[in-house]
């Protein structure tokens, strides 16, 4: 069985996520795009594991899921705090930490 379609789908999802991160201003959307990129890479990992016939990639995918879950907890909390203090979830407004 060929894994090419899965890899292609993974690439498409990754690109969509990447463009989303770079172009969108709403922090929630940017965050979702990051999740999309993580899941695209998960898909690629699982697909390659299948191709190689071992479990390494799948285990890596589990790790990514755990990290993503933790990241969501922290990230959403940060976004919530920013929104509460600034009444805006735009990432461009939160640009105080600069030169």
């Amino acid at each position: 069985m060929s894994v090419t379609p899965y890899i292609v789908l993974s690439a498409i999802l990754f690109t969509i996520g990447c463009v989303g991160v770079l172009t969108r201003r709403n922090a929630i959307v940017v965050f979702m795009c990051v999740e999309l990129m993580l899941n695209a890479s998960n898909l690629a990992l699982v697909a390659f594991a299948r191709q190689h016939g071992d479990l390494d990639g799948q285990i890596a995918a589990f790790f990514v899921m755990v990290v993503a879950a933790a990241e969501v907890v922290v990230g959403l909390a940060i976004i919530m705090t920013i929104f509460r203090t600034r009444r805006s979830a735009s990432v461009d407004d939160a640009s105080l930490l600069k030169y």
Binding site: C18, V21, L22, T23, R25, V30, V91, D92, A94, S95, L96, L97, K98, Y99
Partner: protein, 642 residues
């Protein structure tokens, strides 16, 4: 007569101190304790400190007197006593003990320093009565006395150097005592710096002594002196002369002495006339075992001395500041002592003789000048004096004693001592002798000028000045010193001083002088009389203008400018050093600092541009992350495909 054969160089060969001589250390310790108590005790000693500070040198004087009498009771050959206090420096081959040497030479100095010093302490009680920093003044005076006693009692050159630097320090502190006056602060600095030049000579000489003889002790060096080469001895002599020039204000290091008159008058009397400035003469006489073997160095001493004795005398003629006239005369008189010291065994004893008599009459006149200033609201300009003899009878009479002594009026102390020097100089070299005679004539001129302008002629006082006689605490020391000025010649009675000093400096050789002694004496008296008469006709017979006339001869103008000594120093030393420091400062600022700070500054400039990357937008960070990732991936691909 001491058994030493003529021409032989005496050696220092002391016996250990016992009996009354074991008190020797107390002579130094008493004033040193006084200085410590007054300077550390602070304001708790304000009330009684000056009395304590006066009593302690008197105590030293009493001990010195007892020691002197005990020394006289000993045999001629047994008059050198040393006391070992403790081991001072022991490093490798260098073994210097804190040893004291008491011999006829130091015994005379002890009497002079503690005697005149005590009188000046007493005088200062009156003179400094209203000074808010009186306690400190007396503390410094005691420190000076202790240092000077260390200088003359040390048994080795290093101990002598300790005292040498000690008097330098005390002199600095006392010249700049009225530190609120910028001129006093500058004068103190000047004295200190010029003295450092002389100290270079001293320290080099000490090092050379150690290299050549492996020791700095007088005993060791005087025994081994014959073994060194002539060149070494000449270099040693010249280095010691440099040291002596610095301390004794001899040409070419004379410039500090006149400025040093910024200090309180008792300081001028004690340090810059009677004792400290004579340290150079002491050094040369003490180092007779070096100079006797270094004829070239002796010639240098004589040349320096003759230049200085005329130099100081010319300055004395032109100055209107009473203290500066006396300072010029001090330079000149120390020139006489150096001259005698440079003439070898024939002159050493007379150098010390003149040093003692000069110590008496110059201290007398300086204190007299202080008394005059005291009555004239601290005005020092003689053009504002005049006719003071009736209002200050005691000051006038005592000053007259000093005056007659310094010009060499027959019978007074200065007559005997100066006459002996002129006689010895004429016997040695007629040019030197004639210069010494000329100096005596000029001395007669400027001292008469001072007397006339101060005590005679018409009144030229400033408004609101009411001259009055000083309190007896000031006039009694004057009377004692006046008596000594009159009677100081007694040292010469029965050739006492020559024979007393012979174990230290060698016997005075007996030669038939080219001119009989009586002839020289008459000649000297005639020359002095001419000088006095010139002053009488030029100053006493005319009106003295209240401001110094400007249309004067070149010589007078040069004399007022101290013969351009300061200008020469400025051109030769001060300005080049200033330029050098300015140059070094510029190099430091632009080359060294430029290199060191230039690098960080450049990095900072780059960072100013580079920090614009940190713009705070998450998107731009994400983009740079992406670009970075892409570059890594592409690089991996390129490597793998290649």
């Amino acid at each position: 007569m001491y058994a030493l054969s003529e021409g032989a160089i005496p050696v220092v060969d002391p016996t250990a101190a016992d009996g009354v001589f074991s008190l020797l250390w107390l002579v130094i310790a008493l004033p040193l304790a006084g200085a410590a108590i007054l300077l550390i005790g602070g304001r708790y000693t304000d009330k009684w400190g000056h009395y304590l500070a006066t009593l302690l040198p008197i105590g030293s004087f009493v001990i010195s007197l007892v020691l002197f009498i005990s020394l006289l009771g000993r045999e001629d050959g047994d008059r050198q006593v040393s006391q070992h206090l403790y081991d001072w420096i022991q490093v490798g081959h260098l073994d210097v003990g804190a040893d004291l040497l008491y011999d006829p030479l130091s015994s005379l100095f002890l009497l002079l320093i503690t005697g005149v010093g005590s009188l000046i302490h007493v005088y200062s009680i009156g003179y400094m009565a209203h000074d808010p920093r009186r306690r400190r003044f007396f503390g410094y005076l005691n420190l000076f006395v202790a240092a000077m006693l260390t200088l003359v009692l040390a048994e080795n050159y290093l101990g002598l150097f300790l005292g040498w630097e000690g008097v330098g320090l005390a002199s600095y502190l006392l010249i700049g005592f009225w530190q609120h006056k910028p001129s006093a602060a500058a004068a103190a600095k000047k004295a200190f710096v010029i003295n450092r030049v002389g100290d270079i000579g001293m320290s080099l000489a000490i090092m050379l002594f150690f290299i050549t003889f492996g020791s700095t002790s007088f005993t060791v060096i005087s025994h081994a002196a014959g073994g060194a080469t002539d060149t070494t001895m000449t270099i040693l002599g010249l280095l010691l002369l440099l040291g002596a020039c610095g301390k004794s204000a001899q040409f070419p290091l004379q410039a500090w002495l006149l400025d040093a008159m910024e200090g309180p008058t008792p300081v001028s009397a004690l340090i810059h006339a009677a004792t400290m400035v004579t340290a150079g003469v002491y050094l040369i006489v003490r180092s007779n075992f070096v100079f006797d073997l270094a004829p070239h160095a002796q010639t240098a001493v004589v040349v320096v001395a003759v230049i200085t004795l005329l130099y100081g005398a010319i300055i004395g003629c032109a100055k209107d500041d009473i203290k500066k006239v006396l300072a010029g005369s001090t330079m000149s008189q120390i020139g006489y002592m150096m001259l005698a010291a440079g003439l070898g065994p024939a002159g050493y004893a007379f150098a010390i003789f003149h040093l003692l008599t000069h110590g008496f009459f110059k201290a007398n006149m300086f204190l007299g000048a202080g008394s005059v200033m005291h009555g004239m609201n601290d005005d020092v300009d003689m053009r504002h004096y005049g006719g003071l003899r009736k209002l200050m009878p005691v000051t006038f009479l005592t000053f007259t004693m000093g005056y007659l002594a310094i010009i060499g009026f027959p019978g007074f102390s200065g007559f005997w001592s100066k006459d002996k020097i002129i006689e010895t100089a004429l016997a040695d070299n007629w040019i030197v002798g004639l210069c010494a005679l000329l100096g005596a004539g000029i001395t007669g001129f400027y001292m008469t000028r001072l007397m006339l302008m101060t005590f005679f002629t018409e009144k030229r006082w400033e408004k609101g000045v009411h001259p009055h006689e000083s309190p007896s605490v000031m006039t009694v020391p004057l009377m004692v010193l006046a008596a000594l000025s009159l009677l100081g010649g007694l040292f010469l009675l029965n050739d006492f001083i020559q024979e007393f000093l012979a174990p230290v400096v060698g016997a005075v050789p007996h030669e038939d002088p080219p001119i009989p002694a009586l002839g020289v004496t008459l000649l000297a008296v005639v020359v002095v009389a001419v000088g006095v008469a010139a002053a009488w006709f030029l100053i006493g017979k005319r009106d003295v203008p209240r401001t110094a006339p400007q249309d004067v001869s070149f010589v007078t103008r040069a004399g007022r400018e101290e013969l351009y000594g300061n200008q020469v120093n400025d051109v030769l030393v001060v300005n080049p050093s200033r330029r050098l420091t300015t140059g070094i400062l510029a190099v430091d600022k632009y080359a060294v600092d430029g290199t060191l700070t230039g690098g960080p500054v450049a990095i900072g400039a780059v960072a100013m541009v580079a920090r614009r990357v940190q713009n705070g937008y998450v998107r731009s960070y994400a983009l740079s992350l992406l670009v970075g990732g892409l570059i890594v991936v592409l690089a991996l691909l390129a490597v793998n495909l290649a």
